[in-house]
Symmetry: C2
Subunit: 382 residues, 2 copies
């Protein structure tokens, strides 16, 4: 497959298969942003008309996000990235408990070894504070099984954090079922456990209405669903209190200081609404591509090992496989010269940094984890 692609294509022919890393900014989103990149430039905290127009745009964006997620507007917060949303949810919740008088040493956080770096990289920081962190085992396809989850919950557990869709192998967790299990455990043990969902990879393909997910917090990233880079969204159920990471002006009800990125926020709300409109039809198209590609792969590269689940537990726009003994980093460079943008793993896990922590955690197979290649596409790919 790779050899046939070696002849460079013209730039126009390029095929972009790295949607999981970044999506193009939709023209409709840019149009919605444009007024806030020109004539509406006021500081949303100012009381004059220029400020109030900006303030109004943010309120409208918050309402639009709430409508899309079927939450209350006051449960929607804007941040600077999906990473910041994950950081704020996890660090902010634990710090809030700490300020409420609970010792860090009595808190336990549950996550998995296959999370995005914006969750995994918090673990050493949590441990430094004294927080216990336990990782629930995932199956070979990356699924969190109910029994495994139940086996790690304890009466010290205060938070469970995991991704809706794995950014590397596309595994979709049964979020509502897992959230219910957690809540039932908490209720039976007269304790409180909050559930945080990293949903950055979901909006184009899966429902993101909070009632369908049963989670307390949910992080989204505009740049992963047709919106601008540099804007994250955090849904925080009204029952949850967080401490801020960034302090300053009282923006976002004191939870996220800094003059609001008005254009970016408008773009994020527009992109999320568009992503969640008719995502089922979009998913059907992407699923057809996925099925055809998996069948083709089995035929032309039979030695390729599919990483993650086959079928409905895999997000419809993702293909990830290992080619043992192939330098897939070089394969990606090769494909790039041939006009195809792909990746070995999550962009945030860094280029050239060795193996996939996700595939390693799922398969315990280093050779397989070192030779991953990921394709992730948008609806226009056929």
């Amino acid at each position: 497959m790779i050899c046939h692609m070696f002849a460079p294509m013209s730039p126009k022919e390029r095929i972009y298969l790295d949607f999981a890393a970044a999506t193009p900014l939709l023209p409709a989103v840019l149009s919605a942003m444009q007024p806030y990149l020109s004539e509406v430039f006021g500081n949303p905290s100012a009381i004059h008309q220029e400020g109030q127009r900006a303030r109004g745009a943010i309120s409208d964006a918050r309402l639009a996000v709430a409508r899309t997620l079927k939450s209350r507007p006051e449960e929607i917060y804007f941040t600077g990235s999906g990473t910041e949303s994950n950081n704020l949810a996890i660090l902010g919740y634990l710090e809030s408990l700490h300020f409420g008088g609970r010792a860090y040493e009595t808190m336990e956080v549950i996550t998995t070894a296959i999370e995005h770096p914006s969750i995994l990289e918090l673990i050493p920081r949590l441990k430094t504070k004294g927080v216990k962190v336990r990782q629930v085992e995932v199956g070979e396809t990356g699924l969190i099984e109910s029994a495994s989850l139940l086996s790690v919950l304890t009466t010290d557990t205060v938070l469970v954090a995991f991704a809706y869709v794995n950014s590397e192998i596309g595994t979709i967790q049964p979020v509502l079922r897992l959230a219910k299990l957690i809540k039932e455990f908490a209720s039976a043990h007269k304790t409180t456990i909050k559930v945080h969902l990293d949903a950055a990879q979901a909006p184009l393909w899966l429902p993101c209405q909070v009632a369908k997910l049963g989670v307390d917090m949910m992080a989204l990233d505009a740049g992963k669903c047709g919106g601008p880079k540099g804007v994250g969204i955090l849904y925080i159920n009204h029952s949850v209190s967080l401490s801020p990471i960034l302090s300053g002006g009282g923006q976002e009800k004191g939870l996220r200081a800094g003059t609001e990125n008005v254009a970016g926020i408008v773009g994020a709300a527009t992109a999320l609404a568009l992503a969640q409109t008719a995502y089922e039809e979009r998913a059907l198209k992407a699923r057809a591509v996925q099925e055809a590609t998996i069948a083709l792969l089995a035929e032309i590269i039979p030695q390729a090992e599919l990483n993650g689940a086959a079928g409905p537990a895999r997000v419809c726009n993702n293909l990830n496989f290992s080619l043992a003994n192939i330098d897939t980093e070089y394969a990606v460079v090769w494909l790039d010269r041939a006009g195809i943008a792909a990746s070995t793993k999550s962009a945030c896990a860094g280029a050239g940094s060795g193996l996939s922590h996700v595939v390693l955690a799922c398969t315990k197979d280093e050779a397989r984890a070192k030779s991953t290649i990921r394709f992730s596409w948008g609806e226009e790919v056929t």
Copy 2:
């Protein structure tokens, strides 16, 4: 003055006098950003062409900022706001010392009572950690006097943080002189004291080359100098180590995780370069407006009390005065209806939240602090 302005102007006639809160996005800046809001959409951490074009844009932006500030490119970091830059400099430096083995209880931070909320609001967080925070007294015009500064420095002092230009009253600190004093004290006492400068209000009017300032860190905000909202810059001298606030992917050399806001970063670099180009001529124009306005004010509202310095220690685009017994919050609303956008104080200090902490700290006069009104203009105002 206010009465004459009561008749509403048409929207086209509006006079925007709140540059300290937010500046219009310059058309040239938007043009520079535009490719990164459309065809160049890759994730800068991806190794394919789409990613590398984005990566190249960030490298170019970093180089442009370094040229503007006359620093090394590797000393320039991009964040999500001026607020985040201030937070990262202060929290990140102390945490880095802490991880290096120094107890928080042995660290002392010096700042003033007239700082922006993005510095002031960190004080309770620092105190919670055990860090001592001392505020150097400022004079009636907001200036930090050498003797006052020297009187608070101790061998425990690790960091001094203050603003180049006060966002409310426009007082310009003698940065190089203060920085030298601090370094001399540190040298004489065989200790290390870093200096962080909040320069958010400076780039349009004052030199920002780091050698002219003698500081170790400097925070800038693109949205305050003709660039987009949602992007901050932090200069960090190569001698300073910081711990990150946001963890995740290794962006910004591990210091600021989250997919980079490529368009915003390009815009920030362009805006900063334009701001620092011919700032002297721009400042001369703004100074003429300031002198005329102060003279007019003395004539028509003799009871107005100028807050901050007169003359060169005041930034040339700022006018701030108190009108005792006047509800200036209402005056701002009134002016707004008359077509003039002004403010009572810093937008980040929040609308309707009572008195100016800056004017109170300078004058100890509550009535005066409750009745402030601020005008801050751009070069096009005559």
